[in-house]
């Protein structure tokens, strides 16, 4: 039986799907996402970015997702990605309760240079909990095609870097989808990784909440820009029988969310620079916004699990 604040969290809000979609495009102080029986409900955080009265993160397992730090980027869209990463870390440290773990969904660096990995690692030491990483395609640009990333973060992983672990009754699965690029098509996981995933899931009960994280969206957000994973549907098919599945991705530097049955797909904001909405520009590259608005496009995602009842609450907050 979950505690009272959990119940409130589940019951809060009665907005319909239309409102939910509206909220997903909103770049304000932050949005609290709730899932109840597969139906998402959302409401805005108050102007100070605080959780509403009666909702508390204390005493519950929660973790934070950060993404797309792009250390080494220095162009117009954000000349100071170090500073904005530090601000994101400051925001995580200021959460009302310490997260149990952090997921970084890739593009730690911009060009996979050793000094960029060094700088990022030094800054990320400021995080208040252990960090679990997956690489982005910007982290595998070294001569070794990702060797620098794996040397640093790949200990104990399988194949080209995939792995799974359990924490507080949640099964976490890290997938790699930044190494199989083929001309003219979206990226892929590959047969070996899909086989491993099927094997890994064999021991997981259908009542266990599952969190899958990978850099590029596993679902097709926008194919013309390569925002999807060609064989992602095969991975998703393996997850359908589970009661609570949350798929967290980065890559597209904006929040987009979708629910299919018991599966919630969510992409996080980056900490470096925004990118245009799917198809809203000629190309998906860095989007330059007025300097005083940049921080409203950058942010973090806080994910709270509600034990026993399976919905995960996703709180997206920006840096302002």
């Amino acid at each position: 039986m979950e505690n009272e604040s959990d119940q409130k969290l589940i019951n809060l809000g009665n907005q319909n799907r239309r409102d939910f979609l509206k909220c997903s495009a909103w770049a304000g102080a932050g949005v609290l996402w709730m899932l109840s029986g597969g139906i998402p409900k959302a409401f805005a955080l108050d102007a100070a970015g605080k959780l509403p009265e009666g909702v508390s993160l204390a005493g519950n397992f929660h973790f934070v997702q950060i993404s797309d730090s792009h250390i080494g980027f220095n162009k117009e869209a954000n000349p100071e990605p170090i500073k904005t990463l530090q601000e994101a870390i400051g925001r995580i440290n200021a959460l009302p309760s310490k997260p149990s773990l952090i997921l970084h969904t890739g593009d730690i660096t911009h060009l996979s240079k050793p000094e960029q990995f060094d700088t990022a690692a030094e800054i990320l030491k400021g995080l208040p909990a252990p960090v679990h990483y997956v690489p982005g395609e910007h982290d595998t640009l070294d001569e070794g095609g990702g060797k620098l990333f794996l040397d640093r973060y790949g200990k104990g992983t399988k194949g080209t870097g995939w792995y799974s672990f359990d924490d507080h009754g949640v099964h976490f699965i890290a997938l790699i989808n930044v190494l199989n690029f083929k001309q003219g098509s979206m990226t892929s996981l590959g047969d070996e990784q899909l086989k491993w995933l099927a094997d890994d899931l064999r021991a997981v009960k259908t009542s266990t909440p599952i969190v899958v994280f990978a850099h590029i969206p596993l679902w097709t957000v926008y194919e013309p820009w390569g925002w999807g994973t060609a064989d992602g549907a095969q991975a998703i098919a393996l997850l359908r029988k589970y009661g609570s599945v949350t798929i967290l991705n980065g890559h597209i530097h904006q929040v987009i969310q979708k629910v299919e049955g018991n599966i919630t797909f969510h992409t996080a904001r980056g900490t470096a620079y925004p990118q245009p909405a799917p198809g809203a520009a000629a190309a998906p590259g860095p989007m330059t916004v007025p300097a005083d608005q940049l921080r409203s496009y950058l942010g973090i995602t806080d994910v709270k699990t509600v034990q026993g009842n399976h919905p995960l609450a996703l709180v997206d907050s920006t840096l302002v």
Partner: protein
Amino acid sequence: MKTMYALAICTLMLSAPAYAEDSQISIKDHLFTPSTLTISTGTKVTWTNHDQDPHTVVGRSTQQPFHSSALDTNDTYSYTFTEPGTYQYFCTLHPMMVGKIIVTAGK
């Protein structure tokens, strides 16, 4: 006056492709421009990245295996084509970005 000189030089370059040793391909807005380039053997092709995003230029031919490292903004990559043929290439960071070089024999 400077503009006039620049224009004159540009016009000369444009009007004399048959004698040009080098060809240029621009990378901008996630597109290779021109996307298809026809050259004769011995021509050096230079790609220049004008995007804020990094890109790569990776050929698929085993006959002429050209392969750039990641090109940051304003970085260039050059390759001289010595064998006639049609060479497809793409950006491994953004695989929807594709281009083609058609190399014809002799001059």
